[in-house]
Assembly symmetry: C2
Homo-oligomer: 432 residues x 2
């Protein structure tokens, strides 16, 4: 991007949707982003900025004054403004809040008072709530006469005098109904209410399960304080679901825009943990050092047993972590799922053992084939057990099963793999 | 569930939401599902059945006649009926289709003519489309007078005489506007149109990117043929995102309700593939058999080098697969991301190498410490490269990067781990 191309760049970018402009900024190398930002300064609306990747936005905000950030936040709806401000560090947050209009500041501070990743942070405060006694005609007139009402709503919430939700009404039902019908005859009484303190992952599961487009958020006294719409939930589900894959592999947040130092500290922790588990496996091998010296084929084949077990354990673990995340694996069916996975493991174990056992018997000697086949069966069954048990135990202890299960499952399958194979080789009299 | 408890069971289940009834059926052991189904036969509506896990539903359908399945399908909207019928095998599909009303059959056959997992299968045919010249008042009267119109719509689509979409109008905008205003003044002209053949994963990305609640589906001539709503997309996103974690671990579909035989065949393939890669590693070890016989510490430590590399490769691969799925990793920034991951790998490699190298030098001898440290650095950098390159290559070849990347990355890191460590041990003169 050259300085004299600014007009041309502007013309190219101008027709794009804010989300596309944000993507474009992310795709450009970091050092060219400032130049691009200057060329399209007028197009850098709050919407574009709220669509930007968190790390790209952080880098941008470091070059802006709190006043400029506050101006961007004021263009946005409460939930988007909160998402933007909650990522700042405490000092920057205070500086930006101080620059906001008192009304916006109050709304954002209120949202920030709810726990991170809770419904209270996600919700929009702007919504349409009406009393139970009005008619469809009254409602339509009210909507037409109040030009300061939001247009971002898909349901009208019906509340009692204490502002507690008593029903919800899809806009299509209102449009299909004659003016004289009372709203209480049109609304649906059983609606899904979201407590403001509910975790966003749980909110997303509710939206998914009950196929919601919007839902009312209530405070601890049951009063209506906001609404959450499906377009926000789509982001949450994407984040939460892909988070598990990254966490299981020990990749932390795993964002390609994350600063290198952060990626390093997130990942090196798990590599060091893995080093610890690998050393336990080494201790087991060292205990059988004399056997290996006598029969070097043991050293050649032992990684096969450990590797197959590790793979089988990862498979079962991925299934269990997902079932836990979807609330499909509960106390009532843990034993059933465990038994199911053990049977799959036995089938897998016998198949793989036959292959490797046969090949080993042919290349080396029959007894070594029998030893490796038995060790593979033992290790795959152990993997099936650990792949369910480890995530379930973490879940019962209120820990995220995706985070640390990998390290433990690998430790178990590596150790068991080496121990079963080398132990059986000695016990069978193959070596000295 | 005892026969004489049927009334009690019915009373307990009756107040539940269809999605909750479906969950309950899934949680009950398979052999008790028939008894439960009988007790709550009247509550087993099409909605409950369409919420059931695919495998639980298949088992249920095996006990039902095509006529009974057709009756269930007729209670549902087109998209849900299609989801239900597309899972049946060909013979059952034909039998059920033959029992349907001609009109429903035509709609479902039409949907089935689109590729699996395409927008054409996901969409609802029922929608509200109006010509451009009418006013808000005309539209409201039309909606009130036509009682056979759907109520499941969140936007009204405005079409030209050839039935091509020219705009879309949120219901809230219609409710906020006086009757005499033309609809063309209220509608938004630039809307996101979904071609019927678009893959559902791409559809979901559009919904996420542009924060859509509903979108028009068009045929190859650009005519409006259906709509997709955000509540369906929420399911797709959950499936697609958690699918990647399962695919990367080689767990296939990874559903705890899947029949054991299916889980076995899906998983054993990857275990056998893993066996192949482990044997390549074994060949490398075998080539250094003489060195291991002389210095058994090599056998003790070599799994550490391979394991750390495998872990680092999995981390980078998880990050790359996610970035590819989110369209964040494209041709224009592949080299930048590769370079970024190499730098993270160097930092990780140096840290881990210092730890293991120091410990080895202390326990065994300094030269072996230097050898293992160098091998770890080489293997982690190789892992960083392969973790980006392998998924990107699969993606360029139009293969799903989540499916087979694991096997290749593990093969590369295992082989390189053993080769670098044992090769350096020999080259450094540590052994013979």
């Amino acid at each position: 991007v050259h300085a004299d191309d600014d007009d041309r760049v502007y013309q190219l970018v101008e027709p794009l949707h804010p989300a596309d402009i944000a993507d474009l900024i992310e795709l450009v190398p970091a050092e060219e982003r400032v130049g691009l930002g200057k060329a399209i300064a007028e197009l850098m609306t709050g919407e574009v900025i709220s669509e930007l990747n968190e790390h790209v936005r952080d880098a941008l905000f470091e070059q802006l004054s709190p006043d400029a950030v506050a101006q961007i936040a004021e263009q946005l709806e409460t939930d988007d403004a909160v998402a933007l401000i909650e990522d700042l560090d405490d000092a920057d947050q205070r500086a930006v809040l101080a620059e906001l209009d008192p009304e916006d500041r109050a709304a954002i501070e209120d949202a920030l008072s709810f726990p991170e990743e809770s419904a209270g942070r996600l919700m929009q405060r702007d919504l349409v709530a009406v009393p139970e006694h009005i008619t469809v005609g009254n409602l339509i007139d009210y909507l037409r006469d109040n030009s300061d009402l939001t247009t971002e709503f898909w349901e009208v919430f019906v509340v009692d005098p204490a502002h507690r939700p008593v029903g919800a009404c899809q806009l299509s039902w209102i449009l299909r109904t004659p003016r004289h019908i009372p709203i209480s005859d049109v609304m649906k009484r059983d609606q899904t209410l979201i407590p403001a303190t509910m975790d966003q992952e749980e909110v997303a599961l509710r939206f998914q399960k009950y196929a919601l487009i919007s839902a009312a958020v209530v405070d601890s006294a049951g009063r209506l304080i906001g609404q959450i719409t499906a377009d926000d939930i789509v982001h949450i589900i994407q984040e939460e679901a892909s988070e598990d894959a990254l966490l299981m592999s020990g990749a932390g947040e795993g964002d390609i825009n994350q600063p290198i130092r952060e990626s390093y500290t997130e990942r090196v922790r798990w590599l060091i943990a893995n080093l610890g588990t690998a050393l336990i496996a080494s201790l087991i091998i060292a205990a059988f050092g004399a056997a290996i010296e006598k029969l070097v084929a043991l050293a050649v084949l032992m990684p096969v047993v450990a590797s197959i077990g590790g793979n089988a354990g990862t498979q079962t673990m991925a299934v269990s972590v997902r079932a836990l995340a979807m609330n499909q694996l509960t106390q009532s069916n843990t034993l059933r799922v465990l038994w199911r996975e053990m049977r799959v493991a036995m089938l897998n174990g016998v198949t793989v053992a036959a292959l490797i056992g046969g090949a080993t018997a042919f290349i080396f000697e029959p007894m070594l084939g029998l030893v490796i086949a038995t060790a593979v069966v033992i290790n795959i069954i152990t993997a099936g057990f650990a792949g369910v048990a480890v995530p379930v135990i973490f879940d019962r202890l209120d820990q995220d099963p995706a985070v640390a299960s990998s390290v433990f499952v690998t430790m178990i399958t590596d150790s068991m793999g080496f121990f079963a194979f080398l132990g059986l080789a000695v016990a069978s009299g193959l070596v000295g």
